[in-house]
Structures are given as C-alpha cells and as structure tokens.
Amino acid sequence: MYRAGIAATDAHCKTTFGGKVFATLDAAQQDAVLKGLESAEIKFDTISSKIFFTFLLQNTKEGYLSDPLHGGNKDAGSWKMIGFPGARADYADWVGRPNVRYPLPPATINGLQNQVSRNG
C-alpha cells in the first residue's frame, strides 16, 4: 500500500508541480495534494488514492500519539501538548478532585522525557 501510494503520489506531484516530489512542495501545496487524495479527486492507476490516504492518516495519528518507543511522538511532544501523562498510569490520589489539573508532565515506557536538565 505504502510503496504504491507514495510512488503514485510523487508521480502526480511531478506532473502537476513541474517535476517536484511531494516532500519538496510548500505546505499549502502539500495540503492541496492531501485533500485531493482524501476526496479521491486525484486518482491512481495502481490503488485507490482514498484508501491509501485513510491508511496514511490513521498510521500518522498512531505514530504521533503513541509512545515514543515506536519512533514517532519525539520527546512525547504530542502528549505534552494535549496533557496526557503517558505511562504514569497511577492516579489513585487524583480521583474525586474535580476541576483540578493533574500536575505532572508525561512519562514514557523508557522513562521520563527531558524533565531534568543534564546540568542539574
């Protein structure tokens, strides 16, 4: 799916954007191509562009929101942004305290992320 989908997307970009592949387009152009895949206005000969986009979006969100051990979500950045404490998974003391934000930043399966300065 990915081999065929990426090749077909780049082929489309080269034709439409004067020889440029997807990775070298600017953000607005990239968004336009992604919208074309999502709506199936861009069609591939090999696979369904819409199904390729569905997989791409789902797997991208998985990488973005999963534990960094899978290779995405660098420094637990998405978890810090939304407020998910990750692998802390121990909240007995925080039950029944309405309207109080949990205070600690995320932990990951391989430890705490960038919380303590190396210089102490």
Binding site: L34, K61, S66, D67, I82, F84, G86, V95, P98
Partner: protein, 590 residues
C-alpha cells in the same frame, strides 16, 4: 504430522477463559481428572501484563496483541440472506480473546446481574402488553432458569472477583444508593463502590435532577485490598486507564489469573495444555454421545483426546462453530425458523454522547478504570412503560471513564477537520476537557439473524469459518432512538459547552468496521423447549448428555448489560447441576 491418542480423562474443557476456569475449579473439587485445552498461549500478570510495557497503546489497544489472530481463523459476516458473507479480517466491531484467561484478561470488569423479568421476557411482555405486542419475526424466548435459582451463583462470582458496588435490593428491601430495579440480593457487595471520577459526579447529579436513579457501576476492579474465598489476593485499583484491551498490571482487575488460577493450576487432578486448538468434538456412530475431542497441538500433531465429559468453554461463536463442525444438534434453518444450533444470534445496539467542557473544568480523562462510573437503569428491561413506545427492550445508561488513551479514546467536536492544523488545534483544546456517556442497548433474536458455516471461506486447518448473518431491526433501532434521547438529556444537564451525539437511525446497517461491543450472544440458546433451544436449562446439549456448552452462546436474546456476570453465574449453575445430579447418574438432566 503424527496422529496420536492421549490417555482418557474424566472431563475435557475446550477453552480456558472465565467459564473454563470456573468449570475447572468446580469439577476438580468434585474429584474429577480435568484437562483444559487452550488454543492460545499461557499468560499471567508477570511477565505478560507488567508495567510499564502494558501501557503501550499502539501494541495492545490498537494492534490488539492480546486478541485472536484473525489471519488464522475468523468469522464471515453479511447483512442478509441474499448477501455473500466476507471475512472479518481487521479487528473492528468486536474483539474476541485468545490465550489463557481469554477475554477475561482484557475485559473492563463491569458486572451485572440479569433482572428477574429478563429471564422470562416473553411472559412479562405478554402479561403487560398483550401477545400482539411482540413483532412477528422476533423469536423472543425464556431462558428456562429463574433469577432465584441463579442468585447464589451471581453471589458466588461476585465474591470470587471481590466485586465493588452498592446493593439496591437486599432480600427485597430497597437500599439507598444502589440500583432500585435489581432483583433481591442475599448479600451486600464484598467491597464498597469505587471512588467516583469527575465525569461520574456530574452524571450522577444530572440524572438525579431529572428524576432518575443513578448508582455506582458494579465493578470487578477492586476498591480495597481483598482476599477471595480461594485465598487469591487483589490490590486496590489505581485508575491507571489501561483496562479494556489490556491485562491489569496491578492485580486489581478480577480475571481467571487473579482469582481462580492460583488455586486451580496447583491441583493434582488438573492439567492445562496451551496451544492446543480443538477442531471437533468426536461422537459415537449413533451421534448420541461424545467420546472426546480432537485437537491440533503446537507442533501440528493431530491429537485425539478421549473424555467422559466434554464442556465447551470457548467464546460464544467458537462454541457454536464447534457444535456445527461436530454435527451436534439440529442446525438452524432461517427459511423455516426450525433447528436450534445457530439460532438467535444477537448483539448490542449502543448510543453515545461526547461532551466538551470549559477550560475551568478539566476532566483528566486519562484517570480511568474499566468499571468506575455511574449508571442509570430506569430505561432498561421493563423498568418503564413500553406501551406507548411500541418496542421491546431498553438500555442501561452510563458514565464510565475507562481511560483517555489518545489514539483510541480521543473524540473531537463536530466539524473538526480530520487532519492538519485545524485538527491539531482541536485536540489541544479538547483532549483534557472531554467526557463521554453511553447507552448499552439490548438486541432481540430474529428469524434471519443467525449463525451457520460459511460455504466458501476456511481457517488454517481447512475447516469452514463460522458465518454471521446479522443486521439491525426496527424494534431495536426504536429502542436506541428512545434511550439515546434520554442520554442526551442527561448530557445536556451535565453542562458541557458543546456535545456530539452518536445514534443509529432507521435504515442504518450494521457496520463491522467500528468497535461497538464484544458482547456477541446466542447461537446455542438455552431453554426448556428442545425445538427452540440447543441446550437445556443446565446448559447440557439436548440428546447428547455428556456435552455441556458454557458462555453467552446460551443467551436466547441479549441484554442491555455487560454479559460476564450472567455467563459466570450460568457456569456455576451448570457446574452445580453436574456435581449434584449428573455425576451421580450421567444422563439427561431435563
């Protein structure tokens, strides 16, 4: 590969989840030599569910490490008799278990007892609304067992699990704070209810203001340290938020591993063989007795295992498939409505409301437990007047927050872009401030919702897959439309700034791709009439007295409740009948 025959045992259990563990305990206590065959791997808290590895959402929650591998065996699904069924290749609508403990490892621990009238549903509706109230194609039928008969067994399972909750009816006296609609209990719960989460406090208040009767969800996540009658110890749940789809790292969630196996696995008259996939029950030439089972072991050898007694303890649809593959019982025929094996396959119809709160009200959704929450039973069973509504059944309405795992459990307001900067802004603004409530609705049995063997697709052993023919029916859509309206009213009273409603509408078809419920039921219904039930009221196959079939396959129609409490009570009820009656005089019990 070699064909081998093993020495005979008194009883063989096919599958080793909750019902296998219960049967194992009860039949070894009766002195039988018992063998459990489990197709999956052995699993236990350490090392399989250990912290922090178990908090990996992608591996367990999304890729489903603990679930059945659909590449080896699955079911095929179609909406109607004229359609061609296709295999369920990607986990979606339901999540069948695998391995020791089965789905009892990765359940949430929400526990229910059937209402007394659930078990005599046809009589109840006929008495109150008249015979014409029941739709023509609905095969509404009694269970053949009463609440009073099951009460000691509900109680037994609650004690085994260290169930946390509040009684609503003690020996006929209604108790403040519990479910006023429940049947009479002999005893209070072994543990007090779990602490209430932020969202449940809002739900409880809103439901009370609307005149309903909210109560804490009965939970198999321990609220206190507990030692069960077998000596197994549970520690208090710490609300880690990794419950359903995960094993519990904290010895807090009741599972076969945390409640029964520490005792059972040490009994001298018990043996467990894992990676042993049963492919059929073997029968005598006249088809009147089982002689044992045949299974494929981890090396691919075909093993014949003789046994005096065969108990099917696998998941609902595996039990039905084994009956069909073994030619046990008359196959159901939807054209005539006759036959019993495959009859009355049912599911559940769920609705939901997601609420988005102001920044002054963080919900901290990651603080969760599988069964911590507040529930309303006012619109389930016959707890409300169905006369003017014209449908049968209902839904429990609940605010249970099992966790805030970001890939699976994020829900964003209507109109949010699916990706890009708009999506990113929305998840940043809403994640912490989101809460959800749901309606868990009943589904009845219908003439053309059923199970049989697929004519085309086969598993890795070359045996036909089970085929599921199922779609929503007007009665159940009317039920979910009504109960989800009630849910919406509660959501509104909880005071969110925005909300999003998910409800099935007339004309909607069953969508296999979206997770809904692993509460598949029926296909080997229990009852007192052999023309409409596959097993008698003791879960014994009619006409094959040495085969018993456990599990939700015995449900003649489905509840608006989680099934495990009922499944476990039926297993204890059946085991008691085997111990007290069958073993003294092996033959038909009804």
């Amino acid at each position: 590969m070699a064909k081998l025959t093993k020495p005979s045992v008194d009883a063989v259990l096919v599958g080793f989840g909750w019902t296998g563990a219960i049967m194992g305990m009860e039949l070894t206590a009766a002195g039988l030599q018992v063998l459990a065959l489990e197709r999956g791997e052995n699993r236990d808290t350490a090392p399989d569910f250990a912290y922090p590895r178990i908090t990996d959402e992608l591996t367990y929650g999304i890729r489903g490490k603990l679930f059945q591998n659909l590449a080896k065996e699955t079911v095929t699904v179609r909406h109607g008799l004229a359609d061609i069924a296709v295999p369920y290749r990607q986990l979606g609508s339901f999540l069948p278990g695998d391995g020791v403990g089965g789905a009892g490892v990765h359940w949430n621990g929400q526990n229910w007892r059937a209402l007394p009238d659930d078990l005599r549903i046809r009589s109840r509706y006929e008495e109150r609304y008249g015979k014409k109230f029941i739709p023509q194609d609905m095969q509404l039928q009694a269970w053949g067992v009463s609440y009073a008969e099951l009460e000691p067994h509900f109680d037994q399972f609650e004690k085994v699990c260290g169930m946390s909750g509040k009684a609503g009816n003690l020996k006929g006296v209604i108790q403040t704070g519990g479910n006023p609609f429940e049947g009479p209990r002999a005893n209070e719960f072994p543990l007090p209810p779990m602490a209430a989460l932020s969202s449940a406090l809002l739900f409880d208040k809103a439901a009370r203001e609307l005149g309903y009767h909210p109560f804490p969800q009965a939970s198999a996540n321990a609220s206190r340290p507990y030692t069960n009658p077998h000596g197994a110890q549970l520690g208090p749940c710490n609300f880690c938020g990794f419950c359903e789809r995960y094993g519990c790292y904290n010895y807090s969630k009741a599972s076969p591993q945390t409640t029964l196996l520490p005792t059972l696995l040490h009994r001298k008259n018990f043996e467990l063989r894992t990676r042993s996939h049963v492919i059929r029950v073997n029968m005598t030439a006249d088809g009147k007795r089982a002689t044992g089972v045949t299974y494929i072991d981890a090396q691919g050898n075909e093993i014949e295992q003789p046994a005096d007694l065969v108990v099917l303890c696998a998941y609902q649809f595996h039990n039905v498939r084994l009956l069909l593959l073994s030619n046990i019982g008359k196959r159901y025929d939807p054209a005539t409505g006759t036959g019993v094996v495959g009859r009355n396959y049912a599911y559940q119809l769920l609705g939901g409301v997601t609420m988005f709160f102001d920044k002054s009200q963080p919900m901290n959704p990651f603080i969760g437990a599988g069964a911590s929450g507040s529930v309303v039973d006012d619109f389930y069973g016959d707890n409300f007047d169905h006369g003017p509504l014209g449908f049968i059944g209902g839904a429990s309405l609940s605010c249970i927050n099992t966790g805030g795992r970001p890939i699976q459990q994020t829900s964003l307001p209507t109109g949010t872009p699916a990706w890009g900067a708009g999506w990113k802004r929305a998840i940043k603004d809403n994640y912490l401030y989101t809460a959800s409530i749901g309606s868990q609705g009943s589904v009845m049995g219908y003439r053309d919702n059923y199970l049989d063997l697929d004519p085309t697709y086969k598993d890795i052993y070359g045996q036909p897959l089970l085929r599921m023919t199922f779609d929503w029916k007007a009665n159940d859509i009317a039920m979910t439309q009504f109960t989800t309206t009630k849910l919406q009213a509660i959501a509104k009273a909880m005071g969110p700034r925005d909300m999003k409603v998910n409800v099935r509408k007339p004309g909607d078809h069953y969508d296999l791709r979206v997770y809904q419920s692993t509460h598949n039921t029926g296909g080997a219904p229990m009852g007192t009439d052999p023309t409409t039930s596959a097993v008698n009221r003791f879960l014994q196959v009619w006409d094959v007295p040495n085969v018993f079939v456990m599990g939700a396959s015995a449900f003649p129609q489905n509840f608006g409740y989680n099934p495990t409490g009922m499944v476990a009570a039926l297993a204890y009820w059946s085991a008691t009948a085997i111990r007290e009656k069958y073993l003294k005089s092996p033959g038909a019990l009804a």
